[in-house]
């Protein structure tokens, strides 16, 4: 693991308006993540894991404090700049896969590269490489409704890594998968992490995911209660 910080969160707080008051989802978070980390935000529902992931992914901004991602302060980015940051440096994997239903597997994976205006030949190679990584080259013409849950999540992983991002944010990636598929997915991500040096940050409360983590950050009530390096049980 390289410890060069690519994500730096300092005194990060996030409030959400609730009625006339406000709800504090994150409270004074101070964390850094380096290249090639395989880390997890662990905690029960409502502990702030997804909110933190959203801020790191520049889908949301902190109410207080600062979030630096790839050297850019998330709060100061324009819509266009944050879109560029996501497109170039951040891959997302969602709990419910979020595949585009009318596109084939190939087109779903290709989508992020189209936004980068990559030329056709390079795009094709990148897409086929990514699909090979996740073992789905035989499904390139299938559409999401024709895929199983495990296959859909593998497409989502391929879509996240196809642009070779520095960071992949995975929000409860195994929540809709059975144990066998969960392990398969996690092993795939672990392999990508090792070979491509991609930083993976998970949000999870799934024991299966925790078995693969190298760093576990426990959140409770929007605060970091423990941040420790761990020896992955599965590798």
């Amino acid at each position: 693991m390289n410890t060069d910080p690519i994500i730096s969160l300092s005194h990060l707080t996030k409030h959400f308006p609730v009625g006339k008051g406000q709800f504090t989802a994150l409270r004074d978070i101070n964390l850094t993540f380096g290249t090639g980390e395989f880390a997890g935000l662990v905690g029960p529902s409502g502990s702030g894991k997804t909110t933190l992931l959203n801020i790191i992914g520049s889908l949301d901004v902190p109410s207080e404090g600062e979030a630096l991602v790839m050297g850019r302060s998330v709060s100061s980015l324009t819509h266009k700049e944050s879109a560029q940051l996501r497109n170039q440096h951040i891959g997302f994997i969602f709990q419910v896969f979020n595949l585009l239903p009318v596109y084939t597997v190939y087109e779903n994976v290709e989508f992020a590269l189209l936004l980068q205006r990559m030329d056709a030949a390079a795009r094709k190679k990148a897409v086929l490489d990514a699909l090979e990584w996740v073992g789905l080259t035989d499904k390139i013409n299938s559409k999401p409704p024709q895929l199983s849950g495990g296959e859909s999540q593998r497409v989502a992983i391929a879509r996240a890594i196809v642009k070779r991002p520095a960071i992949v944010l995975a929000d409860e990636p195994t929540a809709n998968l059975d144990a066998k598929n969960s392990h398969h997915i996690l092993q795939t991500m672990q392999r990508i992490n090792k070979e491509l040096k991609t930083t993976f940050i998970f949000s999870t409360h799934d024991e299966k995911v925790m078995q693969y983590l190298e760093r576990m950050i426990n959140l409770a009530d929007g605060q970091v209660v423990r941040d420790e390096l761990v020896q992955p049980v599965k590798s």
């Binding site: 959203n54 879109a83 596109y103």
Partner: protein, 382 residues
């Protein structure tokens, strides 16, 4: 280009919903082009027939002549100017008595050997002692007269004295131009001048191509366009009347697109969130949804072309039969109208439908600007 490709893909991926919108919109396309083509064809035919049968290349009117006031006819005549390219017509009020009925008519004297108008005036060439007249078929029908019939004609001469004689119907002609038919009786000019004691006089003169355009004192030149204003006005009002029908259809199609867009933005929030997470800006997502809605019109054009082009080409060739009742609209209506589809009409319709479809697609898509990506990813209702 990318936005357009993605929009088209999403649109085609939506399946039946898209094709229903496209079907209605394509019908609007075809109907707008067809209806306007028919009106333009009618306009063209009406103008052409009216020029050939009635107005020529313009008319020189006696300054007292008012075609809408029959009482001016008694005074509205003078010595016909001897200008080249002008054909004199003398008009007087008269009455015919077919089958004992009394029918006021406009008695028009025209040179029997004229070639300025399409009227079959050769039939007026005097033969023997009988006075020959010709009538249009509508006039003949309303008077109950046929070729060869004799009828009593009464008129007033220049001093206001009534005179009468029996005339023979030399020919009943068929024309689409009501102005030369309904209530009109045509007679040889020299005969009428003799009957009224107005030798060499005329009420108006019809110009042909050789007329130089000078108007002597006491006469006023009416250009072809001035004389066709009435037709233009009627055609225009027909166009406006018809446009209400197709605008209603267009409105229904646009409503369907609007509805689909609103529904899309509700149903596809997770997709919108995904687009943003993958690196699209909100503006790009709005553009995508707007183009997606607007692209309905492009598909509608393609679908409309598939059935519209053969249908309209056939109608332009075969013509559209007009019911007899349309004879009474007050302007030339042929038995068949041949629609005319100009480039301007097609491009104008394409522009109208495309712009309208894009606007109604943009309106609901604007909501995306207020959508938080994190809420969108959760599929929260706006």
């Amino acid at each position: 280009m990318l936005t357009f490709k993605l929009a088209l893909k999403n649109l085609l991926g939506a399946g039946l919903r898209t094709w229903l919108n496209v079907a209605v919109l394509s019908f609007a396309f075809v109907l707008i082009i067809f209806y306007n083509g028919m009106i333009d064809g009618w306009n063209e035919q009406a103008r052409r027939d009216t020029i050939e049968w009635d107005v020529g290349q313009g008319q020189l009117w006696h300054t007292d002549y008012d075609p809408y006031d029959p009482f001016t006819l008694q005074e509205a005549h003078g010595m016909a100017p001897a200008e080249a390219g002008l054909m004199p017509v003398l008009i007087v009020q008269a009455t015919i008595y077919p089958e004992g009925r009394m029918m006021p008519v406009r008695l028009k004297g025209i040179p029997a050997r004229q070639q300025t108008l399409a009227l079959p005036t050769e039939a007026l060439v005097p033969a023997g002692d009988e006075t020959r007249i010709i009538l249009g078929k509508r006039m003949a029908k309303s008077a109950g007269l046929a070729e060869g019939d004799r009828v009593l004609l009464r008129w007033r001469d220049q001093h206001g004295t009534f005179d009468a004689r029996e005339v023979v119907i030399a020919q009943v002609f068929d024309t689409n131009v009501p102005n030369v038919d309904a209530g009109q009786v045509w007679i040889d000019l020299a005969v009428l001048q003799e009957m009224t004691g107005m030798p060499g006089e005329a009420t108006m003169l019809v110009a042909d191509q050789t007329y130089a355009g000078s108007a002597p004192e006491g006469w006023a030149f009416q250009t072809q366009d001035q004389l066709l204003t009435e037709i233009d006005t009627v055609i225009q009002s027909k166009k406006v009347g018809g446009s209400i029908t197709y605008l209603m259809l267009l409105l229904i199609a646009l409503l369907a697109i609007f509805d689909t867009q609103v529904l899309s933005i509700f149903r596809r929030q997770r997709e919108i969130g995904t687009y943003i997470a993958l690196g699209m800006t909100r503006r790009e997502v709005i553009a995508l949804f707007t183009v997606e809605g607007g692209a309905n019109s492009l598909l509608a054009m393609a679908v409309g072309a598939v059935y519209g082009i053969p249908l309209m080409a056939w109608l332009a060739q075969a013509g559209i039969p007009m019911p007899a009742a349309t004879d009474n609209v007050g302007l030339a209506v042929a038995e068949k109208i041949f629609p005319v589809y100009g480039l301007g009409l097609v491009l104008g319709t394409v522009a109208l439908v495309t712009v309208a479809a894009t606007i109604v697609s943009y309106m609901p898509a604007r909501k995306i600007a207020y959508l938080r990506p994190t809420d969108a990813l959760k599929g929260k209702i706006l």
